[in-house]
């Protein structure tokens, strides 16, 4: 999986100033907000230059090839506004969700547009989704870029690589 977003290159060294316990708590919080469909709290975690990306197995260049989700900050806002109408039927009623995050690793640092260095973190995840259609188990690898901004941690990047992204997948209406 390569992209225009310098994912093809290895990250730099792990930047200073990120405590493992604090970062893990931040990622668990992001997971909880998503599980509980707390859209306001989840949206508030993102930086202005955010990217939320769910590629398919054949997405090499996301500007020229289809991804399941490829949302900049503006499109994240649109997606959430749609859900908040209560008439985003793919997520109304919302799915019942719980997810596990595991194998959390600090992978390195990525220079960001504001002159700092984001922490790149990798993890494995599983999400159990229950809705009228049935129960579905989603799983894969997630790569985060976490930034310290105004003394708080924020999410600048989240890439979710589903293990079954080379095959037909059901509607993905919730925040993965």
């Amino acid at each position: 999986m390569t992209s225009m977003l310098n994912n093809a290159t290895a990250p730099g060294p792990v930047p200073d100033g990120f405590d493992r316990w604090e970062v893990e708590q931040f990622l668990y919080r992001e997971a909880r907000h998503a599980d509980e469909s707390d859209y306001d709290a989840w949206e508030a975690l993102w930086t202005d230059d955010a990217l939320y990306w769910v590629p398919t197995a054949s997405t090499n260049d996301p500007s020229r090839e289809m991804s399941v989700i490829y949302d900049n900050r503006s499109r994240i806002a649109t997606r959430l506004k749609q859900i908040r109408t209560g008439k985003r039927y793919a997520q109304s009623p919302p799915s019942n969700l719980r997810r596990l995050l595991s194998n959390i690793e600090f992978l390195g640092g990525r220079a960001n547009s504001s002159g700092g260095v984001d922490l790149e973190v990798g993890a494995n995840f599983m999400v159990l989704e229950s809705r009228a259609r049935g129960t579905h188990l989603w799983g894969g690898r997630v790569t985060y870029r976490v930034r310290r901004q105004d003394d708080e941690l924020r999410l600048a990047y989240k890439k979710v690589v589903l293990v079954d992204n080379d095959r037909p997948i059901p509607t993905l209406g919730f925040l993965i």
Binding site: S58, T59, E65, M66, Y70, Q82, R88, A132, I169
Partner: protein, 423 residues
């Protein structure tokens, strides 16, 4: 004589009973026996959209595709010829191709090493002495008929019957209209496909594609938050029309609405200053015709049974079981339009596929529809909307209002004809 007439009537009358001009029976979506008959009489008989030539542009390119329940390898041989091969070794029936796509002149079965050219010809098998000869009269199966229209590849399992041109009929003109959006007159489907598993009968999708009644309701959430003008195209006051194109094909013809505004690129939700290179290229290529193209935009057409072109995106619907199908979707890419192509990928990604802000809601409707159809009464689905105001246009096609079920009735009329055929 009497008994012969009776038995013929009995054999051919099943779909006459289930499909009326203003209603269709719920069992058409839920009965596994009907689904099995559809595979034989529709999916493995009529012309079915498989893929696009641009997906295998180089000699040796191949890509796995579905045609009904069949696993098909679309290949391009060294002479540039396309082939639709079935993924089944002639020896023991193993799959000869495991990768989704690639480039290779041959496929080698992993089970006993039988090797086939990308034309399907058997070129070798190990330890030939066990057969007493170096050649066998065996090859990979293939879809008996393959044909293309402006790069769109179709297959038919019927060895004879209507040609692709005959099957497409008036729908060919809609594909022409799509290709006409390109400054080079060519569509490419090179952006890759999203694969959306859908727990609903395939016909619910085919009917919905030109149903202009649902958008304001199913998609009201996204139209509202983005201020999209699309909703108005499908309102009660819209002057767009729904057209039965014959052969089961139908379209929402939005051109009357776009002509009313006469603004270039309004059909794409933008203005010409945002895509200046594209607009200039169209004017250079098409001269006096250019303004018409820039104002009217692309087609919104459902081509029976499984190709849906919705302005900037293309869908391939393939059945899996009576209550399940897969929607494959991709962005239209136009040769000679790089600035528009990137926008089309971006806009299409936001709209279609498992997380699409339009299609995920359509799919939720399909799936709830399938669940709703489990209810025992009322037994019928009503498709009468617009019968009171249907008319025939200057070209002889039946048209209804923007929100009328004219397209569905055309679908069912053709479906019934195919399903009532003997064998």
């Amino acid at each position: 004589m009497t008994s012969l007439i009776e038995s013929t009537a009995a054999a051919g009358s099943r779909y006459e009973r289930l499909i009326k001009h203003d209603k269709v029976h719920g069992s058409l979506y839920t009965d596994p026996d009907i689904f099995a008959e559809e595979l034989r009489k529709i999916w493995y008989r009529t012309w079915v959209f498989v893929g696009h030539e641009s997906e295998v542009s180089q000699p040796g390119d191949y890509m796995r595709k579905r045609l009904g329940l069949q696993d098909v390898i679309m290949t391009r041989d060294r002479d540039g010829q396309l082939h639709l091969l079935l993924n089944r070794c002639a020896h023991r029936g193993n799959q000869v191709c495991a990768d989704a796509k690639g480039n290779s002149s041959t496929f080698r079965c992993p089970y006993h090493g039988w090797t086939y050219r990308n034309t399907g010809e058997l070129v070798g098998f190990p330890f030939f002495k066990g057969y007493g000869q170096r050649e066998l009269d065996l090859r990979l199966g293939r879809v008996p008929r393959m044909d293309t229209y402006r790069g769109f590849v179709f297959g038919s399992f019927a060895t004879d019957g209507p040609s692709l041109a005959e099957h497409l009929g008036a729908a060919a003109g809609e594909i022409d209209r799509l290709a006409g959006l390109s400054p080079e007159g060519e569509v490419e489907l090179t952006a890759g496909w999203l694969q959306h598993q859908t727990r609903a009968n395939w016909k619910l999708l085919a009917e919905n594609e030109t149903d202009g009644y649902h958008p304001q309701f199913v998609h009201g959430s996204i139209f509202g938050v983005t201020g999209s003008p699309i909703g108005a195209l499908y309102s009660d006051s819209s002057i767009a029309v729904t057209r039965d194109l014959g052969k089961g094909h139908s379209e929402n013809d939005l051109r009357p609405e776009f002509r009313k505004f006469a603004e270039p690129m309004r059909w794409f939700g933008t203005t010409e200053d945002r895509v200046p290179d594209y607009v200039a290229a169209i004017r250079k290529r098409y001269g006096a015709e250019a303004e018409k193209i820039l104002v009217e935009g692309g087609p919104h057409v459902m081509i029976f049974p499984n190709l849906f072109i919705a302005e900037i995106q293309v869908f391939n619907i393939q059945p899996v079981a009576v209550g399940e199908c897969v929607q494959y979707s991709t962005a239209v890419q136009l040769a000679g339009a790089p600035d528009l192509n990137k926008r089309m990928v971006s806009q299409c990604m936001g709209s279609v596929g498992p997380a699409g802000m339009l299609l995920a809601d359509d799919t939720e409707m399909y799936e709830r529809n399938q669940l709703g159809l489990e209810a025992l009464t009322p037994e019928w689905l009503d498709v009468r909307r617009g019968l009171n105001r249907e008319r025939v246009d200057e070209n002889g096609f039946t048209i209804g209002g923007a929100t009328d079920e004219t397209g569905m009735r055309g679908f069912w009329s053709h479906y019934k004809m195919l399903m009532e055929a003997q064998s």
